[in-house]
Amino acid sequence: MDSLYQLGKYMLMLKSLFVRPERKAMYWVEMLRQMHQIGVDSIIIVFIISFFIGAVSAVQFAYNLSTTITPMYFVGYIVKESMILEFAPTVTCLILAGKVGSNVASELGTMRLTEQIDALEIMGVNTTAYLVGPKILAAITMIPLLVVFAAVTGIWGGMLAGAASGYVSTTEYTQGVLSWFVPLNALIMMIKAVVFSFLIVSISCFQGFYAYGGALDIGKASTRAVVLGCILVLVADYLIAWLML
């Protein structure tokens, strides 16, 4: 029963985003701030994680293929496909569910507890539209870019690691990367990135915006935001794969 109530409240929060902004410029400034916080501030972590995922994938695939008659350029192809279809969108978004999700939930939770949201309400600002809207728009703009960046970094990391391990040369690897490109897979990656980013940020906003109590409750709201975000990313990942492949 409580889950249904929360779902209804979440839907109402999303509905309240669709209002005319009091001042577009203020929403734009807030969106740019969020784009920086969500996107630019996450570049390093996304780079490190995707580089190593690509590197490890390349070395492990190469190791497994080394005892078969399969040409080694397949390593490049497999790393590219796995990065595009799964690792870049899903793993990146799982990481961002932790980093961005907890950040957003605790920011809004603190604003709620320190009456900053009440202060905005008193001024006559539509608080959900002003605080939640720019965050969601910033996320669905920046996270897909981070996912593309992760895919490229992962493939590049695979190339460097494959060459360093001696299993696959950069020429062979590049040949594999350039072979059998399927545009649908890239489209699926972008769809996943947009859906996941919406889920991560809207759920975190919901948890933070309706937080109440004290510091302990903000911690709980952040944890809930991360856990729910991760679970829903995985469920959505399965549904998208099931529907589109």
Binding site: R23, E121, I122, M123
Partner: protein, 259 residues
């Protein structure tokens, strides 16, 4: 003028406000006093619209706030200023940006005009050279001043202050009280202050509303406060021996003067 008519608020089975009637007049500092848990904060939140009363009317110059739709309510909210207990300043914005926020959001003034207005109100609350500081870089008393500056920057008709002295030393508290009183007269605002600070009660109480267990127990001004026979109010206001002695001394002076 703000008029409250039979305001009731329930949380589940518990009735926190039990039919409060009150009138808050312009140009005066109207105080709501009472023990913790007496319903002061709920009453102020019902008045400003942060909570919806279970029943009753809140009239802002005869405009029924509760019956209004969202857009009409927004219009009234632009006539309100509020100073929160914890100041509620935006952490990521500087002092100037905090004070300028309502102007940025709701006016079409050019930036130079907005800056002038911000500097004017900051000067009015005696806060200079702090424009570029973050709230975390200034003292509690200065944060209160920023909160007041932000509340008055749009020249509101109604000013609400929730525990304006909380966390301040007695001397700073008095300065903040005096500032609120001066601004109330200067802007002819209807000011409602929620407090349990004795200095505020005695210094600024043009009109005092005493709440006890969700009911209005007493209404009057700071002069009649000393003569009241209301036991709960006397126990609340003159809680310490020092204050009891001060009250007795004040009453003795009154009697002498009357004789």
């Amino acid at each position: 003028m703000i008029e409250l008519i039979d305001i009731r608020k329930k949380f589940g089975e518990a009735e926190v406000l039990k039919g409060i009637d009150a009138k808050f007049e312009p140009g005066k500092v109207n105080l709501i006093i009472g023990k913790s848990g007496s319903g002061k904060t709920v009453l102020i939140k019902c008045t400003v619209g942060l909570m919806i009363p279970s029943s009753g009317q809140v009239l802002f110059d005869n405009r029924d706030y509760i019956k209004m739709d969202v857009e009409e309510r927004k219009e009234i909210r632009r006539e309100l200023g509020m100073l929160f207990q914890g100041n509620a300043l935006f952490d990521s914005k500087t002092v100037e940006e905090n004070v300028r926020f309502p102007l940025d959001m709701f006016t079409h003034m050019p930036m130079s005009e907005k800056r002038d207005r911000v500097n004017e109100v900051l000067k009015r609350v005696s806060l200079v050279d702090a424009n570029n500081k973050l709230p975390s870089q200034i003292s509690g008393g200065m944060q209160k001043r920023v909160g007041i500056a932000r509340a008055i920057v749009m020249t509101p008709k109604y000013l609400f202050c929730d525990e304006p002295n909380s966390g301040l030393d007695p001397q700073t508290s008095i300065i903040i009280d005096e500032l609120i009183k001066e601004l109330t007269v200067e802007y002819n605002m209807t000011t409602v202050v929620n407090t349990h600070d004795m200095n505020t009660v005695i210094g600024s109480g043009d009109k005092i509303l005493f709440l006890h267990q969700g009911e209005k127990h007493w209404e009057g001004d700071k002069t009649s406060l000393f003569e009241t026979k209301n036991k709960e109010l006397v126990d609340f206001i003159f809680a310490s021996d020092f204050l009891k002695e001060a009250r007795d001394a004040r009453l003795a002076t009154y009697r002498k003067m009357n004789n």
